[in-house]
Amino acid sequence: MNAREEILGALGTAAPPPGAADALLADPVRPSVAEDRVAAFLAALALPASGATHARIGSVADAPAAVARYLAEHGLPPAVFLPDDPRFAADWSGFALSLAITPDEPAVIAWARLGIAESGSLVFETGPHAPMLPNFLGLHHIVLLREAAIVSHLEDAALPGPQPRAHYWVTGVSGTTDIEGQYIRGAHGPRFLHVLLVGED
C-alpha cells in the first residue's frame, strides 16, 4: 500500500454532516470595527506594531506628486520601481523608473486591492501586472489604496473564484524580535510603509 492509501485508509474519508463546516463560519468571533471604516483602518495603520504613515490624494493623477513629496522628505532621489500596471496611469515623467527589480531597490510602488480596517492590513494578489517580489525587497513600500476599497474584517478579504498564485496581507513592515526580543524594523524587507489613500474621483 502506498503512503496516500495507508494514511487515508487509516483516517477514513467520510464527509462531515452537511452544514457542519459552515456552522463554524457563522457569527465569527472577532473584534468589532467602528462604523467609520476608513478612520478605523488609518488608526490601525498608525499603531506602533504597523508603524505606517499615510497621505490622502484626490485621484491617481495626484500620485506622482505625493510620491515625490514622500521621497524628498526621506532624502531620496525621485527613483522608484513601478509595476507595469494600467491602474498607475499618470504622469511619472519626473521619475527614474526601474524596469526590473534590483536587490537594493530603495522605493517600490504597489497597488492594494483592499484594506482591512480590523488590522490595518493591505491585500494584494499576484497577476500579470502585479509582481510579488518587489513588495518584499524595497526599503520603502509605497502603496496606493482606494478609500472605497476598505473592508471591515479579515473574512472580507477573500477573493472569490479561481485563486491567483499568491494572495497576501501586508500588515506593517518587515520586523523581527529575534535578537534579545528587541524590535527591529526592516529585517529583510521594507522598513517603511506609506499608504496613499485615493479618494473618490
Binding site: 503512503a3 496516500r4 495507508e6 494514511i7 487515508l8 487509516a10 483516517l11 477514513g12 474519508t13 467520510a14 462531515p16 463546516a21 463554524l24 463560519l25 465569527p28 468571533v29 472577532r30 473584534p31 468589532s32 499603531l47 506594531a49 507595469d84 536587490p103 480590523e118 492590513s121 499576484t126 497577476g127 500579470p128 502585479a130 509582481p131 510579488m132 517580489l133 513588495n135 518584499f136 525587497l137 479579515l154 473574512e155 485563486q163 491567483p164 498564485r165 499568491a166 494572495h167 497576501y168 496581507w169 500588515t171 506593517g172 518587515s174 520586523g175 523581527t176 524580535t177 529575534d178 535578537i179 534579545e180 526580543g181 527591529i184 526592516g186 529585517a187 529583510h188 524587507g189 521594507p190
Partner: protein
C-alpha cells in the same frame, strides 16, 4: 529522572545568561499577549470556536485531505504523502535533485526540524540557507531551536555578534542589535535571491482552494519562495482547515497568543505555481503532507493535541520552561506542548521525564488559544509510563509498598505514628536534614509534623 535529562537541566540551571535571555523574550511575549487579549472583547468565545474548528477538522481529517489534494492539484501543485519523517525527507531530496538544486532557501518550519530536514539536505550535499533571522543564527552556531517562535532566544547579543563577525562577509562594525540585523539582511539577501528551491512549512492548508498559508513577521518566507524555480511545502496533516474563513478565525488567535500582535506582518496564501503570464514566482509547487505519528495520536487519546497551532504561548507562560529553556527538553518541541508531543514522536521510553517535568499548575491550558487540556494529556503520559513499567524500580517499589500499607488502616495508622515519632527526632518546627529525603532537604527545609495525626485526634472525639 534519567541521567541525560538531569544533566541537561543542571547545565541549564547553572547558566546565568540563559535565564536572563529567556526572561527577556518570554517575559515580553507574556506581557504583550495579556494586552492583546484585553483588547479583544470576546477572546474566550474565540478560543472555544477555534477549538471547535480544529476538532471538526481532526474528526474528518481524511475527507479534508482528499479535498485539499483535489483543490491543490487543480491549481497546478503536486501533492505527495509521507508516512514517516524519513519518507518525507526522501521526497523532498528527490524533488531537489530532480530540479538540479545546489542550494535551497528555507523559511522556518518546526515540521522541517521534526523530520530532520536540515540534516537530510546536508547528507544529500545540498546547500541550505536559513532565512528566518533566528534560524540563521542557530544555523551559524550549529544548534537546534530552543523555542518554536524564537528559535534563538537562548542567544545573547554578544554571542550573535561573534557569530556574524565570524561568518558574514561584510559584518556590522557597531555593536548594536539594529547593526547586527542589518548585517544579516545584507548577508541573507543574496542567498535568497540565488536559491534554486524554496522550502516552507504551512501554518494552514485551505481545503476548498488548495492554498498553503504561511505567516511571518520578517517577510523571509516570501523572499525565499518567490525567486526560486521550485517551491516545496512540508506540512503536518493536521494543518488543514475547510476554508479561508476558518483560517481567519485561527489567525486572529495565533498572532495575539504568540507575540501580542493583531496579525502577523505577512500572511500569504500560495495556490499552485506561477501562472503563465505572472512576472515572478516558481515554476513548480510541491506539497508534502506528512503523518509522522499524527494518525496514531488521533486514535490513541491525543486528538486534542492536533489542535495545536504552534503559537508558543504555553512555553512562554510555563514556570519550568522559564527556568530551563528549550534545549533541556531534548526534543524538537519544548515546553508543555513539547512534553506532550515528544513522547508521541520519539517514544515514551526515551522521554518519560518530560511529562514529569511539570508542576501541573494549569497555566498552559489557560493561555492555549485552542484550549488543549495540556495538564490532562501530560497526566495521561504519566499513567501510561506507569502501566508500561517504564518508571524506575525504586519508584515502583516505593509506591507499591505505600499502596500495600495504605490498604490496611491499622497498619497505616501505626506507620504514621512511627513516622511522626521518628521525624520529630530530626527537628522542632523545621527539619533541615532527614535520611532518605535528601532530595528534598538538600535545597529546602521540611516542616516537622505535629505530635499527633489528624486521625488519632479525630478518634479521640476531637471535632
Amino acid at each position: 529522572m534519567s541521567a541525560a535529562f538531569s544533566r541537561r537541566v543542571d547545565a541549564a540551571l547553572a547558566d546565568p545568561i540563559l535565564k536572563l535571555a529567556i526572561d527577556r523574550t518570554a517575559g515580553t511575549a507574556e506581557a504583550k499577549r495579556a494586552l492583546a487579549v484585553d483588547g479583544f472583547a470576546h477572546f474566550e468565545q474565540a478560543r472555544t470556536r477555534a477549538a471547535a474548528i480544529k476538532d471538526h477538522v481532526v474528526a474528518h481529517l481524511g475527507h479534508y485531505l482528499e479535498h485539499f489534494e483535489a483543490s491543490a492539484t487543480a491549481a497546478g501543485a503536486q501533492v505527495h504523502y509521507a508516512r514517516t519523517a524519513d519518507e518525507a525527507c526522501a521526497i523532498v531530496i528527490g524533488i531537489c535533485k530532480a530540479a538540479g538544486a545546489r542550494t535551497v532557501a528555507r523559511s522556518k518550519s518546526m515540521l522541517g526540524e521534526e523530520i530532520g530536514l536540515p540534516h537530510a539536505l546536508a547528507e544529500a550535499g545540498i546547500g541550505r540557507i536559513e532565512t528566518d533571522l533566528a534560524e540563521h543564527i542557530i544555523q551559524l552556531a550549529d544548534e537546534r531551536p530552543s523555542h518554536i517562535v524564537w528559535p534563538a532566544m537562548h542567544k545573547t547579543r554578544e554571542q550573535v555578534s561573534a557569530l556574524f563577525k565570524q561568518h558574514h562577509t561584510a559584518p556590522h562594525t557597531e555593536e548594536t542589535i539594529p547593526a547586527m540585523a542589518e548585517s544579516a539582511r545584507r548577508h541573507l539577501r543574496q542567498g535568497m535571491l540565488g536559491a534554486d528551491v524554496g522550502i516552507s512549512g504551512a501554518n494552514f492548508l485551505i481545503a476548498d482552494s488548495g492554498a498553503v498559508c504561511t505567516v511571518t513577521n520578517e517577510g523571509n518566507a516570501e523572499l525565499s519562495l518567490v525567486p526560486p524555480r521550485v517551491h516545496i511545502v512540508t506540512a503536518g496533516i493536521e494543518k488543514l482547515v475547510p476554508s479561508m474563513g476558518h483560517a481567519a478565525q485561527l489567525l486572529r488567535l495565533l498572532a495575539r497568543s504568540a507575540t501580542g500582535a493583531t496579525l502577523t506582518q505577512y500572511t500569504t496564501f500560495y495556490t499552485g505555481p506561477k501562472r503563465a503570464a505572472d512576472p515572478d514566482g516558481p515554476e513548480a509547487m510541491h506539497i508534502v503532507l506528512i503523518d509522522n505519528g499524527r494518525v496514531k495520536m488521533r486514535d490513541e487519546g491525543l486528538a486534542e493535541m492536533l489542535r495545536c497551532i504552534r503559537c508558543g504561548a504555553c512555553m512562554n507562560h510555563c514556570v519550568v520552561f522559564r527556568q530551563i529553556g528549550g534545549h533541556a527538553y531534548g526534543g524538537t518541541y519544548p515546553g508543555p506542548m513539547g512534553a506532550v508531543l515528544t513522547p508521541a514522536l520519539d517514544g515514551l521510553a526515551a522521554s518519560r521525564d518530560l511529562p514529569n517535568a511539570c508542576t501541573l499548575n494549569g497555566k498552559c491550558q489557560e493561555v492555549c488559544p485552542v484550549k488543549i487540556p495540556l495538564p490532562t494529556l501530560l497526566r495521561g503520559w504519566r499513567e501510561k509510563s506507569w502501566r508500561e513499567g517504564l518508571e524506575p524500580a525504586t519508584m515502583r517499589q516505593g509506591i507499591g509498598a505505600w499502596a500495600w500499607v495504605a490498604q490496611r488502616p491499622r497498619l497505616y495508622r501505626a506507620a504514621v505514628r512511627a513516622a511522626i515519632f521518628a521525624m520529630r527526632r530530626f527537628g522542632r518546627g523545621w527539619i533541615r536534614a532527614l535520611p532518605l529525603a535528601r532530595g528534598w532537604t538538600a535545597h529546602r527545609d521540611l516542616p516537622a509534623p505535629d505530635a499527633e495525626s489528624f486521625m488519632s485526634r479525630y478518634a479521640r472525639g476531637e471535632r
